[in-house]
């Protein structure tokens, strides 16, 4: 691992090879800039959208600014969409799901990637199969299962399937990462007399932060906007999550677009904040993970 330590230190020197900007770099920057505009534009668009009237939105003009900034869309979103209640529920469901996924999948991934046993590949295959299941296809069977274990209309009816659906990708990413760790690590730990649980906790977990962050982000994104399961398994107003808020502005014969826009902004805010926080951790975590021993 010492090689990683030195490499981490010298990395910046490698990346920026010269101080003056070459034509190649200029082209690259132009390209980055262009891409940045196209990828960030939706956020700006959404912000403007959320401040328009229904008529302005539906007239569909692409660049137009609202004639009057409709801040009351936000009022409507917060009150009509029960924003804070749904936000609390969403946070609870998402954080619990994330914690569950990380804990359970890293245990499983550790066993698959590092234990000497016959069926590791088989179990991995089983998990891989799970990535291919379209969620809509499980709706009906899940309903019947949840009915029989009496968890319909509770948060568990969301947390459990969310966890289950994130596990394949989590195990896939984590075990892939764990395979790349040199075996000497465990060997020295075993010599120190550490059992598998201690190795997992004090050797493996600390170096696995970056892939765990990746898993967190993926889980967060997939769970945060999920609506089909939520709408089907939750009926109590008290327990509903954020996507309900978005769709609560869609009535049978009318849609309150401005409020939807405002609600989407409010709903996306936590994701963006969490994402940018974690994204920082990814690269930091990577260096931290490498600097060890």
């Amino acid at each position: 691992m010492s090689q990683f330590a030195s490499s981490a230190g010298s990395k910046p020197a490698l990346k920026v090879r010269s101080r003056r900007i070459s034509p190649k770099a200029l082209i690259a920057y132009l390209f980055f800039g262009l891409l940045l505009v196209t990828q960030l534009y939706p956020l700006l668009w959404l912000l403007i959208y959320s401040l328009k009237t229904n008529e302005e939105i539906l007239s569909g003009s692409f660049f137009a600014l609202p004639a009057q900034w409709q801040w009351n869309n936000y009022e409507g979103a917060v009150e009509g969409g029960s924003y804070f209640r749904y936000l609390g529920n969403s946070l609870f469901v998402t954080v619990t799901t994330m914690a569950g996924v990380i804990l359970l999948s890293s245990l499983a991934a550790f066993a698959i990637a590092r234990f000497r046993w016959k069926y590791g590949q088989l179990v991995m295959l089983l998990f891989l199969l799970g990535m291919m299941i379209p969620m809509q296809g499980t709706l009906l069977p899940l309903m019947i299962i949840f009915k029989n274990i009496h968890i319909l209309n509770t948060h568990l009816a969301l947390i459990l399937p969310y966890m289950a659906f994130q596990m394949p990708i989590a195990v896939f990413i984590l075990s892939g990462f764990l395979r790349t760790i040199p075996h000497e690590i465990e060997e020295s730990a075993i010599m120190d007399g550490a059992g598998p649980f201690r190795i997992f906790r004090s050797v493996i977990l600390p170096v696995s932060i970056p892939p765990m962050m990746t898993v967190c982000i993926l889980t967060f994104i997939n769970v945060w906007n999920e609506y089909i399961l939520a709408a089907t398994f939750i009926s109590s107003e008290r327990l509903k999550t954020l996507p309900f808020g978005v769709y609560s502005f869609v009535s049978q014969y009318s849609v309150n677009y401005g409020a939807i826009g405002a609600f989407l902004v409010l709903a996306a805010l936590p994701v963006i904040v969490v994402y940018f926080l974690l994204a920082e951790k990814i690269t930091k975590g990577m260096v931290a993970g490498a600097v060890k021993g």
Partner: protein, 297 residues
Amino acid sequence: MNVLKVSRWTIAAFILPCLIVYVGLVFVPILVSLYSGLLDWNGIGKSTFIGLDNYVKMFTNDSVFWPSVRRTFTLAGFSMLVQVPVALLVAILITRFVRRPNFLVSSYFLPVILSVAIIGQLWKTIYNPASMGGMINGILTSLGLESWTHSWLTEPKIAIYAIILVSLWQYLGYHILIQFTGIQNIPSEIYEAAKIDGADGFKADRYITLPMVLPILKISIVLSFIGSLQSFDLIMVMTGGGPAHATEVLASHMYNMSFITMKYGYGSAIANVLITMCLIATVLINLLFTRLEKRYN
């Protein structure tokens, strides 16, 4: 070879919690779905066992099925052969030219975070007819290229490509992130050693980055394939599978059959075919990459 020799109980303690949740909530439903695929059932009332009739009908007498398969694979093809390579290129360029890549990579990821509802709305305003303020047609008109304008989302031959473009755009950042992380994990000594041997710049990428990033590239490809096969919400938001099934893909066909047309048995059969296709493709991709990795190592 793995070094940790542990007892059966230890293995169970590590594996079982995850496995039980997963098997109970993902695997059992698949088994149920395998069985439902053999039924003539509207999802509510009584069901009749009809053996493989659903599959026979799907393969021989469903005018929507095969075109949906073709469109699904077109999307997957674009995703694997255009989106992933472009993402790799961007990731390499970022590593090479940008000193503080965090912000850039994170920003590129942004469209993935936003809900499909908003992405769909945005692109509809881009694709709208010029009279409705659509951006593309507006620009074409102002350039005097009126003959190039199209009704992008409603012309049966074009609509699916219009949607594919949105999908490629939305998930580009996702693959950039994955590959960027992969490249970051390549130890820099290797580059330095190569530099001494005279391999620099793109040559280094060809002989070092590419082989070293293969495992992560595989992840990207597998994810893009599976994602494409399951993608459905963007289509529902933008065209609803129309006009007249012209943008229907397997996943949307399955959804329509199960819940709108109320042929739950038939919908399950489509789901099973979808899963099987994913499975075969994943095995093939794995084989391909094992071979590639062998060649490079």
